[in-house]
Symmetry: C2
Subunit: 328 residues, 2 copies
C-alpha cells in the first residue's frame, strides 16, 4: 500500500515544462518520475508579444488537460536559448536564433497569469539538470553535458550543483574556441566549436559541397536544395565521399578538442553527449581524448545520453526539485 501511495504521488505531482528553441515552442506535462504525460508543439513566434501570448495560451490549455489527467501542476519550468539569470527569472542575452529575447523578465508575466511559481535556465543547463535527475548524471559529483542540435549548448555540474558563474555565462560550451581564426560563429566570434560541429555548421558545409556538386553520391536521393542537411553529409561520408569525410573529421576533431579543454579546466569524471549527433560524435571524441588529453584525464568516461527530451525534462526538474525539497 505504501509503495502504491508513492507511485501515485510520483505520477500525479507534475511540472509544466516549456522549451523555447530557435524553431519551436514546446510545452509538456512532466511527472515527478520524468514521464512526459502530454506534449504540445507550435512554431516559436518571431516577436516578444506574440511569443508571450503563445506561451500563456499553450500553458493554459495544458493546465486544463492536466486536470483531466489527474495531474497536480506544481509550477512552471522554462528552458530557453541564451544567457539566463535564474535567480531573477530573466533572459539576459539571447542567441540570434530567437529574436526580441534579450533583457526579458519572463518570470513576472508567467507567474502573474498562471498563478504558479516559475523557474528558468538556458537549454544547455537544463540538459545538465535532466541528466542529473533522470539520466547518466544521477549521483555523479562532477559531470558535463554537451548538447548538439542546431547550435551547441552545455552545462557543468560541480559538487552536485550547476555552475552558473559570476555573470551567468558559465557552461557556454558551444563558444569554446578551438581555433585562432576558423569559421564565423553566430555569437560574433570565430572558431567556436559550434561553428564547426553543430547541426547548423554541418548543414552549411553540406550546402557548400552540394553547390559545388560534390555532395551527392550514386543512389542518394535529394529533392531540393533547402533540404540539404547534416544527414546527407553523414550519409555521403558513409558511402565513401572523401570531401564529406574530411568535413566530419574536422567537426569531430573540433568537438574532441573542446571536450579536452573542458577536462583540462574543470576535470569532470563524466562527459555526456546529448542531441541528435551525440552517437555519431562519441567515438571520435574518445579518440581525441586518447591522443591529446593529459595522462591524468585519460580515465574520463564519454557517454551518449539516453534521454529523449533533455530540455523539457531539465525544465521540469527545476520545478520538481524546488517544490519537493524539505525546508532545512
Amino acid at each position: 500500500a505504501f509503495s502504491q501511495d508513492i507511485d501515485h504521488i510520483l505520477e500525479t505531482q507534475c511540472a509544466l515544462a516549456v522549451d523555447l528553441g530557435g524553431t519551436n515552442l514546446r510545452v509538456a506535462i512532466v511527472s515527478m518520475r520524468g514521464k512526459i504525460m502530454r506534449k504540445y508543439c507550435k512554431p516559436n513566434p518571431k516577436t516578444y508579444e506574440s511569443r508571450i501570448q503563445l506561451i500563456l495560451s499553450m500553458s493554459q490549455d495544458a493546465i486544463q488537460d492536466a486536470v483531466r489527467l489527474n495531474c497536480r501542476i506544481l509550477g512552471v519550468g522554462v528552458s530557453t536559448g541564451g544567457r539566463v539569470n535564474p535567480q531573477e527569472g530573466v533572459i539576459l542575452h539571447s542567441t540570434k536564433l530567437i529574436q526580441e529575447w534579450s533583457s526579458v523578465d519572463l518570470r513576472t508575466p508567467l507567474s502573474d497569469a498562471l498563478h504558479l511559481p516559475v523557474w528558468l535556465d538556458n537549454d544547455g543547463n537544463c540538459a545538465a539538470l535532466a541528466e542529473k535527475k533522470f539520466g547518466h548524471g544521477q549521483g555523479v559529483e562532477n559531470f558535463v553535458t554537451i548538447i548538439t542540435g542546431t547550435g551547441i549548448g552545455g552545462g557543468i555540474v560541480h559538487h552536485h550543483e550547476l555552475v552558473h558563474g559570476s555573470t551567468f555565462c558559465a557552461g557556454e560550451l558551444g563558444h569554446i574556441m578551438v581555433s585562432l581564426d576558423g569559421p564565423e560563429c553566430m555569437c560574433g566570434s570565430r572558431g567556436c566549436v559550434e561553428a564547426y560541429a553543430s547541426g547548423m555548421a554541418l548543414q552549411r558545409e553540406a550546402k557548400r559541397l552540394h553547390d559545388e556538386d560534390l555532395l551527392i553520391m550514386e543512389g542518394m536521393e535529394l529533392k531540393k536544395v533547402e533540404a540539404v542537411s547534416a544527414v546527407h553529409l553523414i550519409s555521403a561520408a558513409q558511402q565513401g565521399n572523401a570531401k564529406a569525410q574530411a568535413v566530419l573529421k574536422t567537426a569531430s576533431t573540433a568537438l574532441g578538442v573542446a571536450v579536452v579543454n573542458i577536462l583540462h579546466m574543470t576535470n569532470p569524471s563524466l562527459v555526456i553527449l546529448s542531441g541528435v549527433l551525440a552517437s555519431y560524435y562519441q567515438s571520435p571524441v574518445q579518440d581525441v581524448i586518447s591522443q591529446r588529453a593529459l595522462a591524468s584525464s585519460q580515465g574520463i568516461k564519454v557517454v551518449t545520453s539516453d534521454l529523449e527530451e533533455p530540455a523539457l525534462l531539465g525544465a521540469a526538474s527545476m520545478v520538481l526539485d524546488y517544490t519537493t525539497r524539505r525546508s532545512c
Copy 2:
C-alpha cells in the same frame, strides 16, 4: 598591547615553503602575513634521490635559521610542476621539465625526516592560493590565475575553493588548446596555449628568427645564440621588427582565446595574470575579450598580479590556512 600581540604572532608563526621548478629548487621561510623572511635557491637536481636529499638538507638548514630568526615553523608547503593529489601528498604525473618526478609520494619522506605536517599542490594551484590569501583574489568568490613562466600554469577558485577536479587535472590552463593543429606542446598534444605563449614558446620563436637572421635590430646587443630569449623578441618588436611583432601578436591572441574559453566555461569575475610576461599580455588579452567574448562576460576584470613569489606564497598559505583553522 593586543595589536602588538597580533603583530608578534603574525611575524613569528611561519611556514616552510618549497618550490620545485624546471630549473631551480627554492626554499623559503614565510611569515603568516606573507613576508618572506629568508630564501634559499639551488639548481633542481635531475634525479629523484638527489632531489629528495637536497629538499631535506635545504629544509633542515632553513629550520635552523628559523630558530635564530625567532620563527616558529608550523609545517611545510610544497609547490611543484605537474599533476598533484594534495589529499595523498603525491605527485601523479610531472611535466617533462622535472625528471623522475611521477608517482612520487613526497609527503611521507618529508614529514618523516622533518617531523612536520606537509602539504603540496601544483605551481598553478599554489599561485591561485597565493592570490586568494595575499593578492588580488582576497575575498573574491570566483577567480582564475594564469601564470606564465617557462610553461603556463593556472588555478581556478570557485565558491572560495580551489577546483581540483575528479582526477586532479582541473586548472591545467596551459593545456587549453586554441588550435586544431598548431605547434607541438611538451605534453604531447599540439596547439596548447603553452606552445604559443609561454616563455619557452617565445624563446623557440626568437631562436627561429635569430637562426634566419631576422631577429636582431640595429643597436640590439646579443652575445651568443644560447642567450636568445623572449626578452629579445619583445625588444625587437618594440623597435619595429614586423616578424617579432607577428609572433607576439599570435602569442597574445592565443592567450586571449584561452582566457575567453575560461570565461565561457567557468565564468569567473576576475582573471589574474601572473609571471614575468603578465604585464605584457594584460592589454592584448583584454582586447581579445572585447572582440570575441559573449556580451554576458564582457564585464570581467583582467589584472596583473602584485605578488613577487606566487608559488612560494601559495605553498606557505596551505600551511598557514590549515594550521590556524579552528576546528568546527
